[in-house]
Amino acid sequence: MKNRLLTAVKAIDIPVWILSIILVPVLFTVPLYSSRVIIQILLTIILYVQLVIAWNMFSGFTGYLFLGVAAIYGIAAYAYAIISAYVPYLLAVLIVGLICFVISYPLGLVFLRIRGPYFAIASYAMVLLFASLVLYYEQAVSYLSGRTVTIIPLPRIYTVLLAITIITLIAAFVIKRSKFGYGLSCIKGNEDLASVIGINTSFYKTITFSISAFFIGITAAAIVPRGGYIDTTTVFAPVISFNVLVMGVIGGLGSLRGGMISAVLLSLFFEFFATSQNPYPFFISLGVLLMLGIFFFPRGIEGVLERVRLPRKKAKLKNY
């Protein structure tokens, strides 16, 4: 066990260690000395970094393209709105995460039997499904057009979300480096083969899906008190799924560092260009970027990084 921990620690480069040792305290102390605007921007960045990591945990590691992040996000937001009336913030966030875990386990059992493009389509439509179900419930049972949530001060949300992000990153790293993660990458490579060599593929996929949903859920729950009001159009917004997909694909599927880099860059762009009255040109350019990215750099930033790091001959050898 100790040995394995050591190899995991060694697997991270020294510059990354130094960077994170400097960066983490700085990020945690930001609310003490900086203005509200900067916290807002950082909050968006951290939100997307976390979502991309959580998305990568499932889609990147297993190769199943999940286009329905907004579905889980919306469920979590509504769950938080209901629960937060009874329990304090942190506990509510945790409970919402567990709810997402519990909901997504049976969902995964059914959905993950569907393979390849059909899974992507099913998950794409999942947002519509849950949005219409929640809307139906609100109209027919609770007679509400939206729900209000007690607003929590921004620095508190920021600190909680930062902690969640770090935990998510560590969890993703541990999963990737563990035997479990190797099983997942086997599934990504060839699922039939993985099942032949004794990997319980159904269990592996489902549990990863649920863990990923858990992390997406706690983030959604943590960010909801920022605005104080939710309805089906704001939390089941396709823009969430789309942004996460763009960041994940541009970063390179299954790559944590690539995903983080692209999430930081793109959410900075998002903050600077899309908060105006007319966000459409930005959305369109994001779509074009995704098309160009997947067409010319199918492996994203991770592919570029690897090519830079390894000498040309070695990189070629690695591909074959």
């Binding site: 393209l65 519509l128 139906y136 994001l286």
Partner: protein, 291 residues
Amino acid sequence: MLITVLNLTVSVLFLASMYLLVGVGLSLLYGVSQTINLAQGGFMIVGAYLAFLFISGLGLAPLWALLVVPVIMGILGMGIYKAAGFSSLLNRNISREDREFTTLIMTFALSWIAANALAAIFTANPQTFPGPDIQYMFSNIIPLKKLLTIVLSMVSVGVIWLIIRKTWIGLGIRCVFDDNEASRIMGINAEKVHFTIFFIAFFTAGLGGTLYSYNYPINPYQGTELTMIAFVVTIIGGVGSVKGVLFGALIVALVEVLVTFFAAPLLKIAFVYFLFILILLIRPSGLVKNM
């Protein structure tokens, strides 16, 4: 009672003909050109907005729009095939899974671009024609617009079916559907076939969109729902099969009308979705096998 049944039947036929138009393009694109088009519904809405622009902006007669818009959309489809990289993707030497994955993401981006471009130009508010009231046939039972939709979509899909079954181009399409590589070896110009398929798919999307805009208020973000229904229709029928699409469209329309009539309109998506998952789990290859 009789009137109600008749009304429901007309609704089923009407919805089915709408879904037929959006489904046939998707089915052919996936079956023949291996392009999973998540933007099919989005482009149908683009067609609807084009019709809206032509009719209320430029004063074109509605019947002319039915001819102009599909042709423009078809040319747009051919342009997208060439310019957006689908042609080189189909010639790229990668596995079928990789190709499907790439086209999936690219068309997802395309649908996003289309919806937001429409929202940027026409605003996100729903648009309708300020046209005259609906005219009826057979004493207040069948609205003329619905009848027009049913007839036009059945006829056009029938023509597509005839083209695929009876002509030389159709023979090429069927060959590429069976095996892309082998048909290349046998001297079929696969590039031309894909070109034709993209034209047909976007032509039907344009026609469907125009008819859609005659019947419903349109807004830029309706594409997702149409795409999803198109996939359900395609999967029920079997990918690449025109007859199957007709079959699937009828089933989906029937489910939708019954749910809307007996339960709540908001639940219809849930039921269609349920149908989708059920078909995928029980019979992923669809109910009809050949083209």
